[in-house]
Symmetry: C2
Subunit: 279 residues, 2 copies
């Protein structure tokens, strides 16, 4: 594994690889890698000649009130994990080269950026779309990999790829969970034992909703009410939203059809977590 | 010359060309071609293995009150001109394939889109940047060519290329003028003889400013005043703005330094024209 810091160098490498007909698989990450990221890496390695992982805590997707500074950055540990996975290149740019003075061009998915996570986190998806486009232009992959845990992010990226005619295939890989069901997230390290225990209720409430739907309940209002009731027992949980949506475009549903995604976001103590399941 | 209508086909063609190591030069246009466009074509042909011209009247860069519907579309004439120039591919997509239902991802140069043309035409440069990015992703050029006449557009595109790490070189080609000095524009056909005659005062006012600066006047306020006085004699001219700016980032100047761009926009009758000179 080679670690690449400069934009010029990664561009040169990817350009040479593509010229030689090699396929590149790309996993953009913010580091603090866990088994969810490593599953994306494995998918890429199975399908492409060369796998590139980027680690970049993207300031453009954090609002001033969010946890940019305290976001975990265990770089040496991440590097070791990626070496064990035998990826080809780790791209590790810094914020000043990614967003130099005068930087001003942002990519915005107008509708998707204002709902759900976008509503709670103004500017977030503009930051996500912008950095994914920048990184993709540098890495020049055929395939890029995203986790289902950040479901709306994957919809935003797919929409961007379609709208901007990018020659990239977006692969969304199912969420990896701890044995007790907690969706893996780099932010889980912020949870104390009591919070971690109550955080399980997010996934449990999603499973409850799934059970209700599979047993014939179609009213989104009723399902959301049952989920809220369930969550209320956990005093450290402050619900942000529950929504049941069309998984293609995230438009909210009133009646559950055959295919839907149930999304939840909540603060657990001071840590904001998200989760979802597709039914 | 081959005319290509579908996005899939142009992508396939450009992908094959690049795979075979051929360099592509690209000239995105809105058609209604004149000698200014053809100069861009000639530059591209001199420098690249293959030249692609697109003709697409981009709805995203017109506001609802602007002249999208009446914008000239002499397609057969344009096609003949390009055949005479022996370009390789004419890419001629339609609005529905470029902006399908649900399209929502726009590229915006935040600062540049709010000044000068952007101030007078809200959303214009977001439309320009978005379509240039889309077309570039499809055509995959090494070089793209833009006319200096649309000076701010060229600054926006260069900024986008830099900010989004696009692997494209932007070439800005000097404005082509009629013998009497009028900058060639597809919108000149809207001018009646009297308007056309008064439209000359735009370039003349720019030359006046240049003369003032070269003879030692440094006060932008004074130069603008002299230009306005000159223009006022022409009753069909309704000035929108005169600005003297840093040509790299279009920040307005108060004192003219060694390098500056003087930009003017005005309605001549009902037709809005722009022009500029670099000193």
């Amino acid at each position: 594994m080679k670690t690449v810091f400069s934009l010029e160098q990664i561009r040169k490498i990817s350009s040479e690889l593509r010229k030689n007909g090699r396929t590149i698989g790309f996993i953009p990450t913010m580091g603090a890698l866990h088994a969810g990221h490593l599953k994306l890496v494995k998918e890429s390695k199975n399908k492409n000649d060369v796998t590139v992982v980027s680690i970049f805590v993207n300031p453009a997707q954090f609002s001033p009130t969010e946890d940019l500074v305290k976001y975990p950055r265990p770089f040496e540990q991440d590097k070791q994990l990626l070496e064990q996975e035998k990826i080809d290149y780790l791209f590790y740019p810094n914020a000043k080269t990614m967003y130099p003075n005068g930087f001003q061009t942002y990519v915005t998915p107008n509708n998707l950026s204002n709902i759900l996570e976008g509503k709670s986190r103004p500017g977030h998806f503009s930051g996500v779309a912008t950095v994914v486009l920048k990184l993709s232009n540098l890495v020049n992959p055929i395939h890029a990999y995203f986790g289902q845990k950040d479901f709306q992010q994957s919809v935003v990226v797919k929409q961007m790829v379609y709208d901007l005619n990018l020659p990239i295939n977006i692969n969304v890989v199912p969420t990896v969970r701890d044995k007790d069901g907690l969706a893996l997230s780099s932010r889980n390290i912020f949870l104390n034992p009591q919070e971690r225990s109550q955080a399980l209720s997010l996934y449990q409430s999603l499973l409850l909703a799934k059970k209700l739907i599979l047993s014939g309940n179609k009213s989104v209002q009723l399902i959301k009410k049952e989920m809220k009731n369930y969550l209320q027992k956990n005093k450290l949980i402050q619900l942000d939203y529950i929504e049941i949506c069309n998984p293609e475009n995230l438009s909210p549903l009133k009646v559950t059809p055959k295919k839907a995604v149930i999304l939840i976001a909540a603060f657990v103590g001071k840590t904001r977590l998200i989760d979802n399941i597709i039914i």
